[in-house]
């Protein structure tokens, strides 16, 4: 009996495979192990350093700052309340930054000399002032003039500061849409506003999402700076707890972990959105 040649099996020469060592180094298992070794090393370094200082770790005292359950029932702790304040602050500031950023970007792209000049002037003015100085300006100078409280001053400061960064992201996103889309929109009789709203902006979102994620994360983290004018958000709360308890290591590690958790959740959330916008293209 002769074997039937199987037409589905490859008939050509098999290609040379990478050497066993190279294959091991390329594998996922190896990468994970390497990662764990490095992270473990860093943790050990920090821990042994702290041991050498004779630091008295009191991690057991941390959970009460998240929540407490007493006879009176469940109660949110200070860190949780601070987190909520941070999230509110960031969310409001982000909405303001987005609206203002869109206006600045559209002014810049308007093609009218005066509008472009105003946009560039605003952009360079804000972008070249350190955030901390801008915050002092809003709180100590503009605050008394216009009667802001510290909370309003913080939102305005963060919103204005990030609006110029966001305006550049929006501008880049709009410019990334091919010119032919403008022409097609124009040729069916759309005016500039309609072309932006129905054709250009919806398409530019997918170009804006990745850098915008970075901007949101940056915003959440830079909101920590308002602790210098004693707005009761996460970082301020952390400082207050430390001044009561002297647990610098535990509290700052905890606060850092909370920020990280928030920003990681944001990043993952946006990457889902990116997929959604990518599919519909």
């Amino acid at each position: 009996m002769t074997a039937q040649p199987d037409i589905h099996s490859p008939r050509g020469r098999p290609l040379p495979q990478p050497a066993p060592l190279a294959r091991t180094v390329d594998s996922v298992t190896f990468s994970v192990m390497l990662y764990l070794v490095i992270v473990g090393g860093l943790v050990w370094l920090a821990y042994s350093g702290a041991q050498a200082m004779g630091y008295n770790w009191q991690w057991y005292r941390i959970p009460q700052y998240f929540y407490t359950v007493t006879e009176d029932g469940f109660q949110w702790g200070e860190i949780s309340l601070g987190l909520v304040a941070t999230l509110w602050l960031s969310a409001l500031a982000f909405l303001l930054a987005l609206a203002l950023g869109l206006v600045v970007a559209l002014l810049r792209l308007s093609g009218l000399v005066i509008c472009t000049a105003v946009a560039i002037g605003f952009l360079e003015f804000i972008r070249n002032i350190p955030l901390l100085v801008l915050l002092y300006l809003f709180y100590y100078v503009l605050g008394p003039i216009f009667g802001f409280d510290r909370y309003t001053a913080s939102i305005l400061c963060l919103g204005v500061f990030h609006s110029v960064l966001i305006s550049e992201i929006i501008r880049a996103g709009i410019n990334a849409v091919p010119k032919g889309q403008w022409e097609a929109a124009t040729s069916i009789g759309m005016d500039r506003g309609q072309a932006y709203r129905y054709i250009i902006l919806p398409q530019s979102i997918r170009f804006m999402l990745p850098p915008m994620t970075g901007e949101v994360v940056h915003m959440v983290k830079s909101s920590a700076i308002v602790s210098v004018i004693a707005v009761a958000e996460l970082t301020t709360i952390g400082r207050n707890i430390i001044s009561d308890t002297y647990m610098s290591f535990e509290i700052w590690f905890t606060i850092a972990a909370v920020y990280m958790a928030v920003t990681l959740i944001l990043s993952v959330g946006v990457s889902f959105m990116e997929k959604r916008y990518a599919v519909s293209q």
């Binding site: 032919g180 040729s187 069916i188 009789g189 759309m190 054709i199 398409q203 293209q281």
Partner: protein, 248 residues
């Protein structure tokens, strides 16, 4: 078969890009229902000419009148005019974030303010006309080049334009898809639509053109009926061009 009334008139139109003289003293008119095919070497100004008609570019001097409206940048009527003039591009320029049906409906709904149901009826009618009713709910990226270009033609038709401009509509297509687009254009010509077509498809030109125009270096070198144009062109430049594109 074309009527007598001129619907597009160029009178001594000039156009510059900086120092570059793109259109030189163009005077020509297109009658209602006329099919004009413009050809010429690349860089001869044929695309610029056609793009001036619906104000995608603006000429610098002279008078250009389309459907009774003078075209110039500061004109208040330019948006109105563009609704009357459909345009099909070399690169299709479909809206990639909208389905085929939405591509066809967005102009009528947002620009002409037509109700959704009616816009959808019109859209489906013209999708039938370009022979791809089954693609209505797909996104443009799922379509072949020929299908995309037919959607683009349907998109212009949905605006119920009276004039259709074609800027090298088959140049970006794979050879086997060219005919499906040309067939649709021939059918459109049979309905009596006024058409101005920039193309190198001379078979198509022979079949549908009332007038052939040859451009070179920003000038109209020759305007003739297809019979004269293909058998006995007057200018040497035109003869050389035809020899090059017809013999290969």
């Amino acid at each position: 078969m074309a009527g007598d009334a001129a619907i597009i008139t160029f009178e001594h139109v000039d156009k510059f890009y900086g120092d570059f003289h793109a259109l030189k003293d163009i005077s020509i008119s297109v009658r209602e229902g006329e099919r004009m095919v413009i050809c010429g070497p690349s860089g001869s100004g044929k695309s610029t000419l056609i793009r001036c008609i619906n104000g995608l570019e603006f000429h610098n001097s002279g008078v250009l009148t389309v459907d009774g409206i003078e075209v110039f940048e500061a004109s208040r009527s330019i948006l109105k005019l563009r609704q009357e003039v459909g345009m099909v591009f070399q690169q299709f320029n479909l809206f990639p974030h909208l389905t085929v049906l939405e591509n066809l409906m967005i102009g009528p709904m947002k620009v002409r303010r037509i109700a959704r149901e009616e816009a959808e009826r019109t859209a489906r009618k013209y999708l039938d006309r370009v022979h791809i009713p089954e693609q209505a709910d797909k996104y443009p990226s799922a379509l072949s080049g020929g299908q995309q270009q037919r959607v683009a033609i349907a998109r212009s038709l949905c605006m119920e334009s009276r004039i259709m401009l074609f800027d090298e509509p088959t140049s970006a297509l794979d050879p086997e898809m060219i005919n499906e687009v040309l067939d649709v254009m021939v059918e459109l010509a049979d309905t009596g639509m006024t058409m101005v077509v920039v193309t190198h498809e001379m078979g198509f030109a022979r079949k549908v053109a009332d007038t052939m125009v040859f451009m070179d270096a920003g000038e109209i070198v020759e305007t003739a009926s297809p019979e004269t144009f293909f058998t006995n062109p007057e200018s040497a430049r035109c003869r050389a061009f035809l020899d090059q594109i017809l013999d290969h």
